[in-house]
């Protein structure tokens, strides 16, 4: 069995199509990151991913995803292959807080009901909303958010849907929580995540070319 190769420049690559029936998901970025440990309400393995509904995956002790900045030469990209099942008011699905249970975060993503996905970088120094009817149709989609140190772009299924200006330096943060705002939070994502990751240095076209393959 061959594993899906990581996207170029991967700092985190969690492939929820693998490691089924395990309590953790290995980081396949090749950057020696620690695995994501599953917790909370048990998430359910589905044939091509992981069904989150109150559960979470927690990534600790991984300096590769301690994103402090970006540059045109080393743009940062957060990407997700996922699908909504039951809309939530604040369906947090990817969030790296500054401190355990702190309100502010290095970076965070949540889906508001089924209308838009909101991106928050460096607490709330930036918000970017990516709207689409793909969510309410409960279709599987590929979300990629690029930040080049000056501007931030939101792509959905390869199409640019939102952009904003973002020039900031982000302080160092704590753990990454996937599927929920925090391990003990009631703000969680109710849906499927198939793959997700973070790249540094890959271009928009490189990432989408990787996904098409």
């Amino acid at each position: 069995m061959f594993y899906t190769p990581a996207p170029p420049g991967s700092r985190l690559f969690l492939d929820f199509t693998r490691d089924q029936f395990c309590g953790k998901v290995l980081d396949r970025s090749g950057m020696c990151g620690e695995p994501a440990v599953l917790g909370g309400i048990p998430s359910i393995w589905i044939p091509d991913g992981l069904r989150f509904s109150g559960g979470y995956a927690k990534v600790e002790n991984n300096n590769n995803i301690d994103i402090l900045g970006a540059s045109p030469q080393k743009p940062v990209c957060w990407w997700f292959d996922m699908q909504l099942v039951n809309p939530q008011t604040h369906g947090w699905f990817f969030r790296k807080s500054f401190e355990p249970n702190s309100i502010s975060s290095q970076y965070g993503f949540y889906m508001s009901t089924s209308s838009y996905i909101q991106v928050r970088i460096n607490s709330s120094s930036l918000t970017l909303s990516i709207s689409s009817n793909v969510y309410s149709k409960k279709e599987r989609f590929f979300l990629a958010v690029f930040w080049d140190g000056e501007k931030i772009y939101g792509y959905l299924n390869g199409k640019l849907l939102a952009q904003n200006t973002l020039v900031t330096t982000i302080p160092s943060g704590g753990y990454l929580c996937i599927g929920s705002r925090d391990p003990d939070s009631s703000s969680y994502f109710d849906g499927n995540i198939f793959q997700c990751g973070i790249t540094v240095g890959a271009s928009v076209s490189e990432l989408h070319e990787w996904y098409r393959k």
């Binding site: 190769p5 170029p8 420049g9 991967s10 700092r11 090749g30 950057m31 020696c32 620690e34 002790n61 590769n64 030469q73 080393k74 540094v200 240095g201």
Partner: protein
């Protein structure tokens, strides 16, 4: 032009009197032969994204299944490795990889040497190595291409 061969031994005698082991030519057989090794040297105080280019010139026939081996002893910087295949006067971009700095994993093992699979290559192999973070100490990065 093959002049003679021995089905029993599985070897082939070529017209230049060299002997080829047929088994080594099957893709499922791991050869392990080193195609070439080079070193990219970074000096202390090197700024971020300093570029070092090294070239590996394969000798003789090379298998189609290759891997890249990188030893990054630096505890300060990740590396960006770009691989080019030089054919004639053209450098064909092949692939690029991010290689982490030397780290000690939670199980106590140090991760310093890394491998990445490469597609088939022909001709010279140019490798561009750059440091993602500024350095305070000099570091020698070893790059090897190996048949697998």
């Amino acid at each position: 032009m093959i002049e003679s061969m021995s089905p029993r031994s599985g070897r082939v005698l070529k017209e230049d009197d060299s002997v080829v082991n047929i088994a080594d030519m099957f893709p499922g057989i791991v050869s392990g032969k080193v195609v070439g090794t080079v070193t990219a040297q970074f000096t202390a105080e090197a700024t971020a994204n300093t570029l070092k280019e090294v070239t590996i010139t394969p000798e003789g026939s090379v298998k189609s299944t290759l891997r890249l081996e990188i030893v990054n002893p630096s505890i300060e910087t990740d590396l960006t490795i770009e691989v080019y295949n030089t054919i004639g006067d053209k450098d064909y971009f092949v692939d690029w990889f991010a290689i982490p700095k030397k780290t000690t994993r939670a199980n106590g093992l140090a991760a310093e040497a890394h491998t990445r699979l490469l597609p088939p290559l022909a001709g010279n192999i140019k490798i561009a190595v750059s440091n993602d973070t500024a350095l305070t100490s000099a570091v020698d990065v070893t790059v090897t291409i190996r048949e697998v």
